[in-house]
Subunit: 151 residues, 2 copies
């Protein structure tokens, strides 16, 4: 399942309506920007690629979109939040993170591991009285650019 295979805007619209929200031009712009990215992006990056949107609108609308389940807020190592489309729009995936420059790349993980993680979740939920919603798996290292000779 890839963003290109689904009617992202239609789905977003529907999810927002269901949440009692409108799918405004600004919100559409944000979703468009996210569709075009290969991994979670920062608010600043979004603003750069959108032009004319107030910073406060970006933050407010991303919050609305997250609340409605259209986008997902991601925090890695640096303390700048990043956003990506929700998993039902992108497919389940995990992240490869550069600890140096903060770059984040989407990666897929073998089903064997996903299965193991699901059963682990069930076990841990029981043991600790949690309800587990999802798991998060990041591989953290240094990307090609940051290892480059220029260092």
């Amino acid at each position: 399942m890839r963003s290109s295979d689904i009617d992202v805007h239609g789905t977003a619209d529907e999810q927002l309506r269901r949440a009692g929200q409108r799918y405004t031009a600004n919100r559409r712009s944000l979703v468009d920007a996210l569709v075009g990215s290969s991994g979670p992006v920062t608010v600043i990056e979004l603003l750069e690629s959108i032009d004319g949107m107030a910073q406060s609108s970006a933050y407010r609308n991303l919050a609305v979109l997250e609340e409605a389940g259209v986008v997902h807020r991601v925090v890695t190592d640096d303390d700048t939040a990043r956003y990506e489309l929700a998993e039902h729009l992108t497919g389940h995936h995990h992240h490869l993170v550069c600890a140096r420059c903060g770059a984040v790349i989407d990666i897929d993980v073998p089903n064997v591991i996903e299965d193991e993680l699901r059963s682990l979740s069930a076990k841990v939920a029981r043991a600790h009285g949690f309800r587990i919603d999802h798991h998060r798996l990041d591989l953290v290292g240094t990307c090609g650019n940051c290892t480059a000779p220029t260092d």
Copy 2:
């Protein structure tokens, strides 16, 4: 391997010396506070349990301790950093996170999964030109308190 089984202060001292740093009273207090916790704690929590240490000293010393490899900075969902002892002092583990209140609890993961993750890392490293240092696995959900009837 548990904190109680190792000479944490001796190790910390040695690591700091190796990094050209001193193991001062403040740094020792921070390590002590971390030894007593069952998971990553926020700087504010550390300050509450220490008494008399300036906030700036906490941040500065935690940075030094992290640089020396004594502690590890952890970021989860809220944007407050948390700190824990480095893995060679606590053993390799992962985190159970409450998305509601932010609580973080250490958990162990079966070796099968750890093995799978290691080989996944190697594969992904090759595919993306990364050098992978470690992985991070969080199970995210809602803890018992936050699911309680009082809601």
